[in-house]
């Protein structure tokens, strides 16, 4: 089921793109990323809508009063907040769901890249099973795994002065952090108990570390997907006017002036 729904379509899409762009697997991964982002655009739009709704709610008088009234009773505060979420139809996790939905895509892509690269006999057998009958790929198998300085089928490192540096992993971690900061709206409240703010902070720290680590241990093709995804995401948000460049600055400088 997993293979049929995720891995096989991904693998064939990668092979198809690879074939039509002149046998460049790196470019195929980048174009595939753009395709995935386009397909998941409704989720992204929904995320923004939820975020905006959440912020509106958090600015409301009702919310502010609730914070003051139950500031010493966290449990009650949480209950009241949940009530308000329900009343206004706001999903407190709505802004995170699109990110979480990326996980099966990432895992499916990882498996597809490894399968498409087919660097071992068993992987080649797996690949032959994944190829749709109407795909004529005899002339492109095995794929050319070289892209820039990288072997996309193996973990990447760049040797500078005799030292192997995981350059791609560092770039992926850095761009993930930048992307998170740019696209994450500032919390509407400073309430440390606010679940969405809490989750946002967690993700901003954890995602760069996690994706950097995955890139370090996985075939470079996956890191390229992460990198392309980060860049595409920032461009997508920028085109919709949702990028907040001030978030890259230190926190105090980014805070609004007091009236």
């Amino acid at each position: 089921m997993w293979n049929t729904l995720i891995v096989y379509p991904f693998t064939n899409a990668l092979l198809w793109i690879y074939g039509i762009i002149g046998n460049n697997f790196g470019l195929a991964i980048i174009l595939f990323t753009i395709l995935i982002r386009a397909l998941t655009y409704p989720l992204t739009a929904s995320q923004m809508k939820q975020t905006a709704a959440m912020q509106e709610m958090q600015k409301s008088k009702q919310w502010q009063e609730m914070q003051k009234k139950y500031k010493d009773d966290k449990e009650r505060l949480a209950q009241e907040q949940m009530k308000l979420y329900k009343e206004l139809g706001v999903n407190p996790f709505g802004s995170c769901l699109p990110t979480l939905i990326q996980f099966p895509i990432i895992i499916g892509l990882y498996q597809s890249i490894v399968r498409a690269m087919a660097s071992t006999p068993l992987q080649m057998l797996d690949l032959t099973r994944a190829i749709y009958p109407f795909m004529n790929v005899s002339d492109i198998i095995p794929l050319n795994s070289k892209f820039l300085w990288m072997d996309l089928g193996a973990p990447e490192s760049l040797t500078i002065f005799g030292i192997a540096i995981p350059f791609l992993a560092i770039v992926v971690a850095a761009t993930t952090w930048v992307q998170s900061k740019l696209t994450m709206p500032p919390p509407a409240t400073n309430n440390p108990g606010d679940p969405s703010a809490q989750m946002g902070q967690s993700m901003t720290l954890m995602m760069p570390l996690m994706l950097g680590w995955f890139t370090y241990i996985s075939p470079a093709g996956l890191g390229l997907y992460f990198l392309a995804g980060n860049v595409v995401s920032v461009i997508q948000y920028a085109m919709m006017g949702k990028v907040d460049w001030k978030n890259l600055l230190p926190k105090q400088a980014a805070q609004p002036k007091k009236k």
Partner: protein
């Protein structure tokens, strides 16, 4: 800072799925099997095992203790002077010569940069060893010293073949290469329409036979490399053909079995499809050709194309069956047995439990 359980578990799950896949040394091919006299040699996982065919017991294993980075998943090859040659499919990239009687290490060749996926060709003059870095190494059989090497543009997974004057090797780069047997000098190369994963076969009539991932089998002139005939198949072909009395026997990745006239590629009998994908070379016995497939089926077909017997076993069979005395040995993968011995009528005679 608190982390929501849902995020934590998703991160953990993704980490295990991705990290686990990338850091362990995974099975990357299937067992290799050969037999001589009363001993079978099985390359499976972190060891090569010698198994006594009379007692069905393990005689030795090499190495005695599993080593990090060492994996054995291709066919061990016996030389005339009793060496067992096998390369590691793991990350150590070593090619070993083992004393087949004692498991003592004769020599190790460490000059390759990638795993060994294909069996060597052993002649009294040299060991011809294909590596997945695309290089064919010719080594001194006595010492393992490198005599010459030739590098193709992609991995070499199939066993080389020779007609005595030339070495033929197919590559995943779609080319079949002919090299001078003494110097390794390139004599000719011919591009096929697909990757070549199975080894070529050199015929006695100046032709070599090559299978590829292009739904074809081709006969090429051993002297010039020009294509003499092409026969279509239903699917990609990985299984190296076996040549017997001017007939080529092989299976494809759809599980279709073929018998072609080696002179012109015409069908000797109608293609048959009793199996899952066939990867291993068929086995020719006195009265039949034995094919083994991924779905665990083993079938014997006589030389007229009539099925003599089928049998089905637990696990997937990619390994070429071998004859050992009165038995046919198969080495299934993902099965409860490491080795299964069949009688000449296909009945299961005895088994060797999973070796660990």
């Amino acid at each position: 800072m608190k982390v929501k359980p849902v995020v934590f578990f998703l991160v953990l799950a993704a980490g295990l799925l991705l990290g686990g896949c990338a850091t362990s040394l995974p099975t990357n091919s299937w067992p290799g099997l050969t037999a001589a006299g009363s001993t079978a040699y099985l390359a499976s996982g972190q060891h090569v095992y010698a198994i006594n065919l009379n007692t069905h017991a393990e005689v030795w294993r090499f190495p005695e203790e599993a080593q990090n980075g060492t994996l054995f998943f291709n066919t061990p090859v016996l030389t005339e002077d009793g060496q067992l040659i096998i390369g590691s499919s793991g990350t150590d990239h070593n090619l070993y010569s083992i004393d087949a009687a004692t498991s003592d290490e004769n020599w190790v060749f460490s000059g390759a940069s990638k795993p060994w996926m294909g069996p060597v060709l052993a002649t009294p003059e040299a060991i011809y060893a294909p590596n997945s870095n695309g290089t064919l190494y010719a080594l001194d059989p006595a010492t393992g010293a490198e005599l010459w090497n030739f590098t193709a543009t992609d991995a070499l997974w199939g066993q080389p073949a020779t007609d005595g004057e030339r070495i033929f090797i197919g590559s995943l780069d779609h080319f079949i290469y002919a090299l001078d047997v003494r110097s390794g000098r390139l004599l000719w190369k011919t591009e096929l329409e697909g990757a070549i994963a199975g080894g070529p076969v050199a015929g006695p009539d100046g032709l070599i036979y090559v299978v590829s991932f292009s739904n074809t089998v081709k006969a090429l002139s051993a002297v010039t490399g020009s294509v003499q005939w092409t026969a279509e198949t239903e699917a990609w072909v990985w299984s190296s053909p076996v040549l017997r009395e001017n007939v080529l026997y092989f299976g494809d990745l759809n599980g279709t079995l073929y018998a072609l006239d080696a002179s012109d590629g015409s069908q000797v009998w109608e293609p048959q499809q009793p199996n899952g994908p066939v990867v291993g070379r068929p086995l020719v016995t006195d009265g039949a050709v034995i094919f083994a497939g991924e779905d665990g089926k083993v079938v014997a077909i006589n030389f007229d194309g009539k099925s003599i017997w089928p049998n089905e076993f637990d696990g997937k069979i990619y390994t070429t069956p071998v004859v050992a005395g009165d038995y046919i040995l198969i080495a299934p993968m993902n099965a409860e047995f490491s080795l299964v011995a069949l009688t000449s009528n296909g009945a299961q005679a005895w088994t060797v439990p999973l070796l660990k």
